[in-house]
Symmetry: C2
Subunit: 645 residues, 2 copies
């Protein structure tokens, strides 16, 4: 029966207590539980189906938490969770949300780290092993036994994974690196190492060149990575080993799914669809903003491929979620490059393309751009090469704490020379993309791809209500312009804020997706019949530099200036506006030719996210916590108006 044996597993000790003959039954139980769970809840089902036997064997042979297992990225840790006291979270649909999709020490002592970005497991494991060896050895006082890293073949292409491999052999001591080779990254593996890796599989682990040998590591191959008895035997042999070893295990992603499962949206085997199972994907549902705007961007670029040979789309292994469909990739040919999970290479590669006269557009998630900060700063910004970075999944969200989109504004917009744009409609997004990938542009450009708030607005027919060509670009609000010299930021067509509506008393500036919040605040401010406020509404569009002229102009006509952004306030965009106004009256003479006593607003209020990690917190609660609900913003504006000064 589905889950019967699994339901009796309360801890790894129960796995050890089973008769060897029961292990295949436990695996079957886990597999059917995963399939049921996948159909109803979704998740990284494919990778977990591939490591059922490996995980059972690990907990059969090793003694967690004394022996430490570090799962790379940890999206393949569902089976591990089932075997370490959390089976009910997969068996009981009412409890599906009790566990996260990644390892989490707050859930269990069997989980070492919160992980969601690839490639770090070997380095983390080296650290655990180092402390063990400093405090004794396998049997010493550290309380740490074997240290095991489990890393997929796709993750192996990440920068830090190589650094980890290179450090492991030199460190020495007990360390077991299990390479879970299912012949897939998120999409296909990409890289020169995968040919030799395939020949290793074909030769039963005997062929040279052997990448792991080249890093000075001991190596062993296990062909039948979905045979629990075989795995138990090998793991028993490497247990307590006195030096680092790579155990190369050949598994099948999505093993056990059948045609019926396929109908429910679960796909067996080595294919891209296997990576992430979404039970709603088969439903007649409109695509979310990521795919919608991603496909829109790809269509626009594709039209130009025939006449612009240097136009290249780059994806570090995550095409599907950003609307870079398989069909597009096939049509694009050499105009599309999947670098594997290698964001650093992707950005430096883009800089090289741009330097030589090409026009690259690199698409990935806000959270994954973190992985290449130094290339953003050095290879792109310092060298001022005209690459376009499409930032997907940016903004406050109910995502896992490993994948937050709340940090990209603070991270990217403080790097000199990076032009950062936040379109508020699909049309404007395409205009920005067309410019950034054209010969007109000479600088690296970040485009924060619109999110669901904008898309919802467009679907409601709300947009494009505020088209740039209807707006007073060169508008000067009141009196003279500031002659404050333009800062050294690069030039672009979106240097000036767009004033969508001209009111008085309160000026609302809403960046990107938060522009929709500003609109709602503007509407609500009119609601109080005794004291309706006709607020000015501004769409800044560019967030790496300020439009000083518009800021000067509105200062005189408005008592309160409000900034709203969809990201962390600390180090973000709104604080720069506050600081600008605060510094105005005293700028020294050769830094301004300002009239002496510039009028500044009485209050500048910044709205955005707190500086914190959030883990799957519903959006409504976040907006409440951050005072981002329009009603809260209205309250604070009215409080400030009442406070005077």
């Amino acid at each position: 029966m589905n889950g019967e044996l699994l339901g009796r597993i309360g801890s790894p000790a129960d796995v050890k207590a089973l008769d060897p003959a029961e292990l295949p039954q436990l695996c079957a139980d886990i597999r059917s539980t995963l399939v049921t769970y996948g159909k109803a809840h979704g998740g990284h089902i494919g990778s977990n189906l591939g490591v059922v036997e490996l995980t059972v064997a690990l907990h059969r042979v090793f003694d967690s938490p004394r022996d430490r297992i570090v799962f790379d990225v940890s999206h393949q840790s569902y089976v591990h969770k089932m075997l370490t006291g959390r089976a009910q979270a997969y068996l009981d649909p009412d409890r599906y949300d009790e566990v996260t999709g990644f390892t989490n020490p707050e859930e269990s002592e069997h989980d070492q780290f919160v992980l969601g970005h690839t490639g770090t497991s070997i380095s983390l494991a080296c650290g655990l092993a180092k402390t063990r060896d400093m405090m004794g050895d396998l049997n010493g006082g550290s309380g740490i036994g074997n240290v095991i890293a489990v890393i997929g073949d796709g993750s192996l292409s990440s920068a830090i994974a190589f650094e980890g491999l290179n450090n492991a052999a030199e460190q020495g001591g007990n360390l077991i690196i299990i390479v879970n080779d299912n012949e897939m990254s998120i999409a296909e593996d990409f890289g020169g190492m995968y040919g030799p890796l395939a020949r290793l599989r074909e030769s039963g682990g005997t062929a040279e060149p052997n990448l792991f040998h080249a890093f000075g590591l001991d190596y062993r191959y296990v062909e039948d990575g979905n045979n629990v008895a075989a795995l138990v035997e090998v793991l028993e042999q490497v247990k307590d080993i006195d030096h680092p070893i790579v155990l190369h295990v050949h598994t099948l992603k999505g093993l056990g799914l059948d045609a019926e499962d396929a109908a429910a949206g679960l796909v067996e085997g080595r294919c891209e669809a296997n990576h992430w199972q979404d039970p709603l994907s088969a439903a007649d549902r409109l695509p979310g903003a990521r795919k919608y705007y991603g496909e829109m961007a790809m269509r626009a670029l594709e039209e130009r491929f025939a006449t612009e040979p240097g136009l290249v789309v780059i994806s570090p292994a995550t095409p599907g979620s950003n609307g870079i469909t398989r069909a597009f990739r096939e049509r694009a040919g050499a105009h599309y490059v999947d670098t594997g999970i290698a964001e650093e290479h992707a950005v430096a590669f883009a800089s090289g393309i741009a330097k030589a006269g090409g026009r690259p557009a690199l698409a990935t998630s806000a959270t994954f751009f973190q992985r290449t900060y130094d290339q953003l700063q050095q290879e792109l910004a310092l060298n001022r090469t005209p690459a376009t970075l499409l930032v997907f999944g940016a903004g406050i969200s109910d995502a896992d704490n490993t994948h937050s989109g709340a940090f990209d504004i603070a991270m990217m917009s403080n790097i000199p020379n990076l032009v950062c744009l936040a379109p508020t409609s699909g049309e404007e997004f395409l205009r920005m993309l067309a410019w950034s990938t054209s010969a007109e542009n000479h600088d690296p450009v970040v485009i924060r791809v619109p999110g669901d708030m904008i898309l919802d607005g467009e679907r409601e027919g709300h947009y494009p209500a505020f088209r740039a060509d209807e707006c007073p670009e060169s508008f000067t609000f009141i009196g003279q312009r500031s002659d404050l010299p333009t800062p050294p930021a690069p030039d672009c067509p979106w240097n000036r804020y767009r004033i969508s509506h001209l009111g008085s008393e309160v000026a609302l500036i809403g960046l990107g997706d938060a522009y929709r919040i500003a609109e709602q605040v503007a509407a609500e401010l009119t609601w109080d019949p005794k004291n309706p406020i006709d607020a000015t509404l501004i769409d800044p569009r560019r967030y790496d530099a300020l439009d000083y002229r518009t800021l000067d102009a509105i200062a005189a006509g408005h008592r309160i200036v409000v900034t709203i952004e969809d990201g962390q306030l600390d180090g973000g965009w709104g604080e720069k506006i506050t600081a600008y106004y605060a510094s105005l009256p005293s700028l020294s003479r050769d830094r301004q030719t300002h009239y002496r006593a510039t009028i500044t607003p009485q209050h500048v209020l910044n709205f955005g996210a707190d500086k914190e990690f959030t883990d799957r917190v519903p959006m409504e609660r976040l907006h409440d916590r951050y005072d981002l609900a329009p009603g809260r913003i209205v309250d604070r504006i009215r409080t400030a108006l009442a406070s005077g000064r």
Copy 2:
């Protein structure tokens, strides 16, 4: 005669025009020029002496700038500069400062990129080659011929270098990756790959495992990497090759130096001293802040090694410049780990050590912490592991644009959960280090190691004038405290600002090294006999979170609050104080229990660096440009006081 033949080389065409028999003489000329230059000017002389023949051969065989040469890190590009129209900058002492120490497209069309961080050359070269191939081929319309990356064996250990190797074979097409193997990183090479690499050298390139083969790359070995005729021959054979190849060239760092040069501070061969030649190092000069405080920290940690087995110092290949001396390393044994140039591994490794109960302290430059941003955020901050990061070389400086220390505050202090501390004396630095590496601390801690402004003060006997134990820690300035809830930032002993002097009207808050500027401003404010100002002086010490209580307290007693920081204003520390005051009157009720109309200062002024890259600009000019000279700050304060509001 020294430099005679070199002096006749105006461009690569002149190298091609020489008789083959003259090439060794040209090499000798270059070598003696480098030695003379090194004695007088200093620089990366060792690596350049190693690539004299390689660089001459490259310009003999290839056709730069049509053929593109990308030098990794580019500190070995002096010879290239000599052969591409810039020989006089090395021959004529009056012109030594005409060129930078790195490649720079603004200097010459023969330079591809501004580079100073390791490992990116292969990825950049892939980008150049990609555009070439998209626009035709070697003989097509792109104007780009052969693409050549020159990378050292030490750089090969960096994350992105592996990503580049892995992508190169898959990309295909002409690409020549020259591995300049001088058997050294900055200090010794570190990593499991260097054993197999040594066996490759010993076997004349025939041994397996071959790392480059494992990445699917063609490979060729050249033992005599300092024989120009041999190199010319091999390069002619690989020129116009139709697929990527690794040319593994064995060279000798510092070749040609002798005992006399050693007396002048130039050291031959494969040793750490060879990496950076400083003509002043032999002089009777006091060490700078990096080495001074670095050695101080290492001494303090070393005393604890015998009783604290989990205490580990980590350096990603840059020990010497941060006071981690060879003698210390030898005594430290397993308490010291050099990870190679592998900052990502270093941070994740530190997180693992801390997770297991050890206490790691990781030391590197502010600019190199950029290379591991994602690990700072995910592995350290999200996981709240108590590692200590010692940030050396932070702050505005006259350094190259590739090595600026002006960006670390904006980069690190906006990451949740990272406790960021800026000590203003050596004594306080040691107290912070003792706490952060103790069992008391449960969070990752950044310590911005004091710079030369602090050290100069200490040497003048100026410090420790403001010792923490003399200061009113729990001081409440005026009236009631704010009951604003503490933000979710981690706790630490430096949550409260230290009020060094209590005055009125103007409050000066100077962070870290900038505290010394604040002191000078305080002094100058008293100078005007008609209107002397007795300013309050505050040492904040912690910069990832604000001390709201002190900020509230000083607001009522001071018309102007001034923040001064040694780094970029945008996204930095001072703007947070401005934004805090700006938001005060209107915080919604459940986000404060503040008294209704909090008094805020009339003006908050932020002083710090503009958002820009600066390249070897003298400090005085930078302080002038940024209004950071004490006199300028005084002017702006008096202007603001006069402006009223």
